[in-house]
Each structure stands twice: as C-alpha cells, then as structure tokens.
C-alpha cells in the first residue's frame, strides 16, 4: 500500500517545451496540485482550530477539571465529562474484548483453507457487507431486535452473578453492555479485513518450514503464523479501537444516555460522542462550548490511537 517507492524515477519528467502559454499552464497546474496536497494537512489543523475556537470559553471556565468532574448541569452552568470519558473507554474496551478473539478467529478461518474457496468467498463477502451497513441501521436493529433479544439472558446473568459489581444492576431497556456488543459487531469487519490481509501476505516459506518440521496445522497457526502477523493484527485492533471510540449513532441510540459513571455494565451510561449527539440540538452558550471541549478531547483520543496504529502497521510493512 504505502510502500517506499523508488523515488523520482517514477515521476513525471519536465519536457523542454518552448511554447510559453503551455509552460505557464503547466506551472499553474503543478502549483494547484501542490496547494491541494498541502490543504489536506491544513484541513486537519483547521478542524482542530475550529473546535478549539468554540471550546475556548469552556476550557477557560473549567480547565482540566472538566475531565474529572461528573456534573452536567445546564441550570447552574457547571459541566464535566468524567462519566462520558469513562463510558467511552469502557464501551470501546468491552467491544474489543468480544471483537478481537472473534475477528482473529474469522480471519484465520478465511485464510487457512479449512473449507474450499467456494464456501469461503461468500463469507468474506458477507464480512465486507457488514462494514458497509451504516451505524444508524445498527442502532435501529439494536433498539428493536438485539436489545430485547439479549435481555432475558442478561437478567439470568444478573440473578446468578449479581454479587459481581459489573453485573449488579437489573438490566433495563438500554445499557452499556448491549451497546458495547453492537459496537463489537460493528468493528468486527475492520479487524477481520486487516488481520486477513496480514495473514495472506506472510511469506509462504514460514508455513512450509513449520510443516516441514512436523508441526500440525494448528501448531503452525498458533506458534508461527499468528506471532509473525502479530503487529498487523495489533494494528487492526488499534484502528478498530479508533472507530469504536469515535462511533456516535449506535451508541447514542443504545447506551441509555445516563450522565453517571456506574461500575455496573448493565446500567445506562453515556459516551462523549453520544453526549454531543443528544445535547447539541438544545445547547447554547457555555453548554455548546463544553460540548466542543468534549469533541476536542475525543479528537485527541482518536488521534493518539490512530497515530499509534499507523506506526504499528507501518513497522510491520517495513519488516515485510
């Protein structure tokens, strides 16, 4: 994908045309493309700047206390996003907990010839389809199909394991746990796609060598192939994490929007993105500014995750 290219040999060569207007057009065209290329970076800065500009009153009013304060009170104009940050991180963590083993399992299934390609290709296609379905449709499905379907099972868990703090509330209509499961389904295709690419791009000698030493298929997979592709898999997990942290619609519809950090996974919660989606319509003044402050935190969070993911995936490609 972003392999290091052999440099200027591949690029265009300036021809020595003498006709002035054409040279001028050529120069203008070159500069237009440079301006466009630079603008991609400018847009990133512009996004950060425009968030910062509107968030400034809230940053001045609350400072870093915004991160640890759990009141969200539009009447007294006191805002803090601790419950949202907690909800964002916990929901992303739970989603990864379910999606990573599943995704790696599916990726192994798709690359290791367990079944003939005739069967595998449609499954791979279905996985790609899963990625194309909009998050609002996942939310719709979650509200009317998924959450009602898992509710009895969660109630059983609550009855049996209610003494564990994580399961201590009786699951209501909407809760963090259900939202995280839907999130897991949404990020699954990302993990599958990149892990699969990594596994197929491993040199065949690795597999041949392992088989030659007498390893079984699964010993080859668990001790040679997965460790060899680990950085690609970790990169895919980081990208999925970035998506989970920034996901808005499915969470806004499913998480219950309770402005409280609760130890129990079965209680309603809130995330930064869902808070913005829910409150932005009615917000004004300092409240709107606080929402932009929240967005800025979200932006920094996803930036860090994504840069880390780029570095991990990039390192893997260099090793290749």
């Amino acid at each position: 994908m972003t392999s290091i290219s052999p440099g200027s040999e591949e690029t265009l060569i300036d021809s020595s045309i003498k006709f002035q207007p054409e040279r001028l057009i050529n120069q203008i065209f070159r500069w237009v493309t440079i301006v466009m290329a630079v603008s991609v970076g400018v847009i990133l800065l512009w996004i950060t700047y425009s968030l910062l500009q509107i968030a400034l009153p809230a940053i001045q009013a609350f400072g870093l206390g915004f991160l640890t304060n759990s009141t969200w009170n539009p009447v007294e104009e006191i805002y803090g996003t601790f419950p949202q940050i907690y909800g964002t991180i916990l929901s992303a963590f739970l989603a990864l907990l379910f999606a990573v083993p599943l995704g790696v399992g599916v990726a192994v299934f798709l690359t290791e010839n367990f079944l003939p390609p005739k069967v595998v290709t449609p499954i791979a296609f279905i996985m790609e389809l899963l990625a194309a379905i909009p998050s609002v449709v996942y939310g719709l499905w979650g509200i009317f199909v998924f959450l009602p379907a898992i509710r009895p099972a969660l109630q059983v868990i609550n009855k049996a394991f209610g003494w564990i703090p994580f399961f201590s509330t009786v699951p209501g209509g909407r809760h963090l746990f259900g939202a995280s499961l839907v999130l897991a389904i949404m990020i699954l295709p990302t993990i599958v796609a990149i892990s699969r690419d990594t596994m197929t791009s491993l040199p065949p000698q690795l597999r041949q060598g392992a088989y030659g030493l007498g390893a079984t298929r699964w010993e080859t997979i668990t001790r040679v192939l997965v460790p060899a592709g680990l950085s690609g898999i970790i990169g895919s997990v980081m990208l999925a994490l970035g998506r989970a942290v920034g996901e808005t619609m499915a969470l806004a519809m499913l998480v219950g929007n309770a402005n409280k950090a609760n130890i129990s996974w079965f209680s309603p919660a809130s995330t930064i993105a869902s808070l913005i989606a829910n409150q932005f319509g009615e917000a004004s003044g300092l409240q709107k500014s606080s929402l932009f402050y929240g967005a800025l935190i979200l932006m920094i969070l996803t930036l860090l995750v994504n840069i880390l993911a780029q570095m991990i995936v990039g390192r893997f490609q260099q090793v290749e």
Partner: protein
C-alpha cells in the same frame, strides 16, 4: 498434512501425530468455526430484519409523500431521499477534484518526497477522524458563517469523510500506470499538464470511479455529521441553503420516536439506504474490474 499414518509400517507410528496434538487441532478448528457462526448470526439477522420489516412498510407513497407528523398514519420521505442524494452530490463535488489533484501531486509530481509522505500521513489521520467531529467542523465553519443549517454544510461535512477514500484510491490508480506511459508522453512532447489530463487521468479512471463510488457509499449512510449541519426538514427544502432532510437522520429521528408508524417508516428508510449502498458498492466492484493496465 501428517494425518495419514499407515498401520502396516511400525516405523510410521514414530512420526504419527499424538492424540493430544490432534485433540488440540480439532478443538481449535471447532473454535474457529464457532467464531464464524457467531459472527455471521448478527449480520444475517440485520439483513433479514431490514428486508422483512422494510418490505412490509414499502409502498409507492414512501417515494411521493412527506414525513408524517407524530401519530399520523401513512406518509413517506421523498424529501429525505432527495436530501440524501443532494448532500452526497455536494460532498462529491467538493472532495473529488480536491482528492484527485492531491493524488496527482503525491504520485505524479512528488512521489516519495517529504511533502507527499506528510500528505499521506495526514490522509491516514483524516480517515480516522470521528464522523461527528467532521459534523462539528462543518457546523463551526459553514453553519455559523452562513447563519443557517443547510445541505451545503452537510455536504462539506461529508466531503471531509470522503476525501481520504478518494485520495487513496486515486493514488492506487496512478501507481498502477507503468513508467513507460509517462516516458512516452514526454517523448511526444507533452507537458506534464497534458500528460496528466490526457493520458494518466483517463487511464486511472476506473480506480477513481471506484473511489468515488466507495466514498458515496460511505457518505450515504453517515448520520452523525449531518445532525448539526443538514439538520432535518419536515418539508421539501427550497434551496441548498436551507435545512434538509436526509434518510439517515430520518432513521435516527423515527427510531427513537414512540410512534409505531414512524418506527415502521424508519425500517423502510433503512431498507432503502442499505439497498442504495449495496448497489453503489457492487457498482464499485464492477468498475474496478475494468482496469486499463
């Protein structure tokens, strides 16, 4: 595979796979199959529900009527269908020239140099920006300056999300063109401008078309960036500078409404959006097969 061990040869047993290792293998195989089944269930359920519930509510009125008020029966969402097409079109108009020209620089003029490495880093970061932040950006830049929610603001928000997809696919397209083609163009005296516009762009067209369709498929389903930019409109928008209804925002509004009729319409809208995305994605696959090089 070392599964076959002939009974007749005593030496073969020495190389046979022990039952413990076999058990481990079978267990893991079962586990992987279970993974696939578990992963497939939700998707099949989503597709099944969207198709059955969507078809149940589908009627010609859906395409011709306006969204119903709370508690009113019937109705449709012609304004939302038009709004979705309109915002996606505006998004494409902004992001396609921008993205293609950027790719022209990173591949044709400055392949591998500092600036194009920086640009591709920025592209990767941009593709990871949460969609709601694209919406807030367009709110701050377009809605606050023009003073009104509008299809233009929605389109700008979508273009931020479409841009990285278009840049990447266009880059792939330009990379696929062999060096001889460029040398040939220079050889017959073409300037860079002429060789890009008359030879390289047409040759990379299948890739660019794929990128545009993929970007459109993503934009058609996006909701978060439109919530505070295009907003929603109960009626037909009179111009692109007014609040505009879109299918995805309609699904959101109607899914969380308590009225059965609106919930049913949300499923119909979901069916239409998924069909739209499916058609566009399949189109992208067909287009990407027509490679020049």
């Amino acid at each position: 595979m070392a599964h076959s061990s002939s009974q007749s040869d005593p030496l073969a047993n020495q190389f046979a796979v022990s039952s413990k290792r076999k058990l481990f293998g079978n267990l893991m195989t079962a586990l992987v199959f279970a993974c696939v089944v578990i992963a497939a269930i939700p998707l099949l359920s989503i597709l099944f529900m969207v198709i059955t519930k969507g078809l149940a509510g589908l009627s010609p009125a859906v395409f011709t009527d306006l969204p119903p008020a709370a508690g009113v029966s019937g109705g449709g969402f012609r304004n939302a269908i038009i709004g979705t097409l309109l915002t996606c079109l505006i998004g494409a108009l902004v992001s396609v020239p921008f993205g293609v020209l950027t790719a022209v620089y990173t591949i044709e003029f400055g392949r591998g140099n500092r600036l194009s490495q920086f640009v591709s880093f920025c592209t990767n970061i941009l593709s990871g920006v949460p969609s709601i932040i694209a919406g807030l950006f367009a709110y701050g830049v377009v809605v606050l300056t023009t003073g009104s929610f509008s299809a233009v603001a929605g389109g700008i928000a979508l273009s931020v999300l479409m841009l990285p997809i278009i840049i990447r696919t266009a880059e792939e397209g330009f990379k696929s063109i062999p060096r001889d083609t460029r040398l040939g163009a220079v050889g017959i005296g073409a300037t860079n401008f002429q060789s890009v516009t008359q030879i390289i762009l047409p040759a990379a067209m299948p890739f660019i078309a794929t990128g545009v369709t993929l970007a459109l498929a993503r934009a058609a389903g996006e909701t978060a960036p439109l919530l505070f930019t295009a907003l929603f409109n109960q009626y037909d928008a009179k111009s692109i500078w007014e609040p505009t209804a879109t299918l995805s925002v309609l699904i959101y509004n109607f899914a969380i409404s308590p009225y059965k009729n609106q919930q049913a319409l949300a499923w119909v809208a979901a069916l239409i959006v998924v069909c739209l995305i499916l058609v566009v994605s399949i189109l992208a696959r067909i287009v990407s097969r027509r490679k020049v090089y």
